[in-house]
Symmetry: C2
Subunit: 251 residues, 2 copies
């Protein structure tokens, strides 16, 4: 099976590395950003290319580009009988032009280039246009990770949405906490054990049962005191999340 | 040194276990909730008591009770020359009546009773009324953890505030993510690798540099699609956090 990876961003970078680590060679990594492609080449040794006219013939094209570039990239793929899989959480496989064997290979993970990852731990969610092809694509995906599941479009969108809460928004809260530390000459590292424990808890407790802090205690003196030291967006966020916690646990 | 611990909640439970694990015996754990005290006794073997009239004479009283009960509890301590340390993040040592040797021993951690903890990893922040006593109290604290730091009242309040963002609010986002999963028959465990990676990143990256997701990409189609599937508080939270991320990274 010849596989071409299209894209040069964070997802493409880590997918290329995942293929490399699992000894699955890519015949080409095609993308716009030459510098980013060179990083991929340095990490994997795979051939890279910025020229669409030199796109390799392959059986599978994995399109790991921005959501709004999926359609345009897929249209340029020359082998119209090939498998074309995009990697987006909230995009239908129908964004890929008809005629191809269409599907999705969605890795549920947060990808930062400067961070190593254990690819065996990443769940991949597969969808195929034709139900009968699902098994086959899931087998390919299992070359990358033992955690391969089927997810239809709605399930994948909901996975993506819950990931935005659990990862993207969570990271933003860490950033706001870091800002408070920096403004007060407190090393953010002091919070690390607390953050690691917050996450360690969910291995054994539902987060619903693990909630602590002033809001769940309905501790108005502390809540008001803390609100008074905040301003702008952080204050609004504090207020809204506090109300949400209070409401969830009142009974 | 004779130490009495006052309280029977989550903080008292884990402090008692921390003393026990470090072979520092408590002469008594005094609290209101007999059942909770029995759990502490079962975990540590320390004598327990619900009767204030039988409070033991000690050199150090650690008052690990709700913020609004600190003053009342401290007032009942019979040895007016003793050290009295509360464990609250956002309460002044002056809540302890004058006359005692007053101070604070604030463990920066989230305490759930049904969760084991590595106490060596917990940072303890000490404050004393008299600067010259700080060293001594920090030495006692180092019986519990190697991570003992001095923090004045304002620093401690700011630590507490940043902890609310990094831990309490974060955990609430996990709960909202879990709700989305449950409503769509998705096992929340699918999100675990993502959450663990979100946190693993902060070991090597500032969260500011680790931000990913639709908001930082200013990806309006995904943002609007996701907003459309939400309602109520989760929708408000999605909107506010998305705006906060967009603003932080626009330049």
């Amino acid at each position: 099976m010849k596989i071409v990876l299209i894209g040069s961003g964070n997802v493409a970078y880590h997918l290329a590395k995942a293929f490399h680590q699992n000894d699955v060679p890519l015949v080409q990594v095609l993308g716009r950003n030459h510098e980013a492609l060179q990083e991929i080449h340095a990490a994997t040794g795979f051939p890279i290319c910025t020229n669409w006219e030199k796109i390799e013939n392959a059986d599978i094209y994995i399109v790991a580009v921005k959501d709004n570039a999926i359609q345009e990239c897929a249209q340029k793929i020359p082998n119209k009988k090939a498998w074309v899989l995009h990697t987006a959480g909230s995009v239908s496989y129908q964004e890929i032009p008809e005629g191809f064997q269409r599907g999705v290979l969605y890795p549920l993970q947060t990808f930062s280039k400067r961070k190593t990852l254990n690819y065996q731990e990443i769940p991949f969610f597969v969808e195929t246009e034709k139900q009968e092809d699902a098994e086959r694509v899931m087998q390919w995906a299992s070359l990358l990770s033992p955690k391969v599941m089927y997810a239809d479009e709605n399930t994948r969108r909901q996975l993506h949405l819950s990931a935005v809460f659990a990862c993207n928004f969570t990271n933003h809260l860490f950033t706001l906490a870091e800002n408070i530390c920096q403004q007060n000459d407190i090393p953010f590292e002091y919070l690390h054990p607390l953050i690691f424990e917050t996450v360690d808890k969910i291995k054994t407790l539902s987060p619903k049962d693990a909630q602590t802090g002033p809001a769940i205690r309905n501790d108005m003196p502390v809540i008001e005191q803390q609100l008074n030291t905040l301003a702008g967006r952080p204050k609004e966020i504090y207020q809204l999340l506090t109300e949400s916690i209070i409401e969830m646990y009142k009974s």
